[in-house]
Symmetry: none
Subunit: 221 residues, 4 copies
């Protein structure tokens, strides 16, 4: 099983025809991945599904993993675009506005090809390249942390703004994600988004939330 090293597309196709071929191959890759899973997604199968020869497939992708790599990259890129479109936040926005925007941006970015998103996570989670799927989270965390530091006076006191940012992003992201897993259309119901905003507001805004006190765990027998 000879395998080259690069995971990059072999050539950036500049001609119309080539672009289409690449497109067709990636579509087929996603389909085959969805139908058969990573382990059973053979290059020959993908090529046949795409209606091209294996040889052609290898003209554009140096090896099997490059296909999935490309799939991930495109998806991450689309997701980032969706996020950026909504999260054009200014550091001066008041917290409630910021929170609403952040939640909406995170939700929206997961409504971009949600089936593909789940597919990539579930099937390619083991691949090294899958780390890229977390790009968006990193971006969001950094943006939030920066905002917290600037707006610290309008927010509840924080020991570790970075940790708070992580908690928010991970939590929102997970709820969105798991909602999609349950039913791909669950996010169409605005209730989810509303709950998330409540969750984040209750966590960030200075309020009457009682201080955390020690509660002893029960005896472990």
């Amino acid at each position: 099983m000879p395998q080259s090293d690069t995971k990059k597309p072999r050539r950036t196709p500049r001609q119309q025809r080539s672009q289409e071929t690449v497109e067709v191959i990636l579509q087929a890759t996603a389909q085959v991945l969805a139908e058969h899973g990573y382990a059973k997604s053979s290059t020959n199968r993908i090529a046949k599904r795409a209606g091209v020869s294996v040889g052609s497939l290898y003209q554009y992708f140096p090896n099997k993993d490059a296909l999935f790599q490309a799939l991930i990259e495109r998806h991450v890129s689309a997701q980032n675009d969706a996020f950026s479109a909504l999260f054009s936040i200014s550091l001066g926005s008041p917290p409630p506005v910021l929170i609403t925007q952040a939640v909406r941006a995170l939700v929206a970015s997961h409504q971009v090809q949600p089936e593909l998103h789940l597919l990539l996570i579930s099937q390619l989670g083991g691949l090294e390249q899958a780390a890229e799927l977390l790009t968006l989270d990193t971006r969001a965390i950094q943006a939030l942390e920066a905002y917290f530091r600037v707006q610290s006076k309008s927010l509840r006191p924080m020991e570790n703004p970075r940790l708070v940012a992580e908690v928010i992003v991970f939590a929102v992201e997970a709820v969105v994600h798991r909602s999609l897993m349950e039913r791909p259309d669950k996010l169409d119901d605005p209730a989810v988004e509303r709950e998330l905003i409540r969750l984040v507001e209750g966590y960030l805004l200075p309020g009457t939330a009682p201080a955390v006190q020690g509660v002893e765990p029960p005896e472990t027998p």
Copy 2:
């Protein structure tokens, strides 16, 4: 690829020797899975690592997936035990106690073989049997929902208690999970748990967060 149907262990070994063999094989399975990933985890490789013959492996497991299935089952079982040990909640507990206990139980159940947990999630996410990995969440969600219904007067008003329970469990679970991914010992720092308790309290306790108000998203260009 001949494959039998069952994913169940082929025989329940009663003798000392057999028990050990099974143990050794499962250990090897986890190791190989960690080192090579699901796709490259061949039964021959696992057997060699375990120091037994392939034949022996197949004496106890009817096929490859049964190995991973067994790994999952054992882990889920251990996790459930850890959860149960802490989450012996009564429906009459006051919210702050309940919240603390719930968060602690969720955190603790993820400190059982955390590397294995991440491994199973990332590598076996695509497998059908992986659904079992979510068992714990379901349990926790149901328990919380029941509690909310009983204690509705001590909590902030909820439109959909089930959704609220999901939000909490998914959120806590994800923060724990992602913390482990970052650094397997990140949970040793009590700060994470503290933040989670704050998150859930802010979300559940009454009189805290201001009502959600409409915030218009920016124009999508």
Copy 3:
């Protein structure tokens, strides 16, 4: 032992090269079958003998049995051709002519690759597909039965023409077959054919053959 369903050749090769490959593989199959028997005829062994890679073998045959299936089909087809060439009988032919032709056609059809014939019968008798090896008999039986019904006046009286046809075909076929087993060239001696014609004539033509009378079997002690 993963096995696809079809027993049909995977692709009908149109190109010269492919045709040759298929030919070479089938030749090798017959050789290995002859030398090692069905149980020990592995696809790897066949491929090696054919001088191609296993992969190539599987490009043309979906599984092991398809190889033997193809072998049987080709042989049955050749046999049928040989039979048809001689058995162009008209329903009006006088019995002696018909009998001679029928016996000759049956003998001739077993002189087509007689070693292969015996090989297929002995080694593949247990396979489902081996039923096809009996195609010729069915054809011959039907033709004879039809003839008997038309020519009943020129023949001895028959209670059950179908049974008579079966007796003749099975008998002739068996003698031919077993003669080949004894010595592959035994049929070169015209004596066998002569005896068979005598056998059939004595059975079919109206003559002095005494009626069957009851003969008591000896006492079983």
Copy 4:
């Protein structure tokens, strides 16, 4: 796959218990052979079916093929007994009596465990030891030939009595055999036996069949 040379039972069991074990194992062998075919009849499967351990099986049979060998031997022996019981012929019997007896003996010897007979022929035809299944034919041929030489005056002239004996035995045997294949109870109908007697009488008795004359085969195009 270590395989010893002998095909003989390892020990002739003299004790009651052992005899039963052997019996049970051979019964299981026949069952498994019938259900799964030769290739899939594993010793472990047979042992399990017999309710003994593989080890015990190997105590009585040195290797897999010895099982089938024993099965064949028993069957041939039973068949021979049945044949002998009916074919206690004297060289002085008149032809019609001899013919009837011979046909009846051949038919009867195939009614001993007919399913097993077909099973052994179809599944074990490729084995060397299967030659033994033809023992009966040899015996019958020799007996007939001897009879022909003594009774030549009561029979039609023969160039080659041995060949005539072969023709008869092969023919009768084949009709019996193929009748069983069609329907295991077809021999219950006395019509088959009647036809066979007619066949042999027409072939052997004098003054019946007209001489064989040359009939030209049609031109092969």
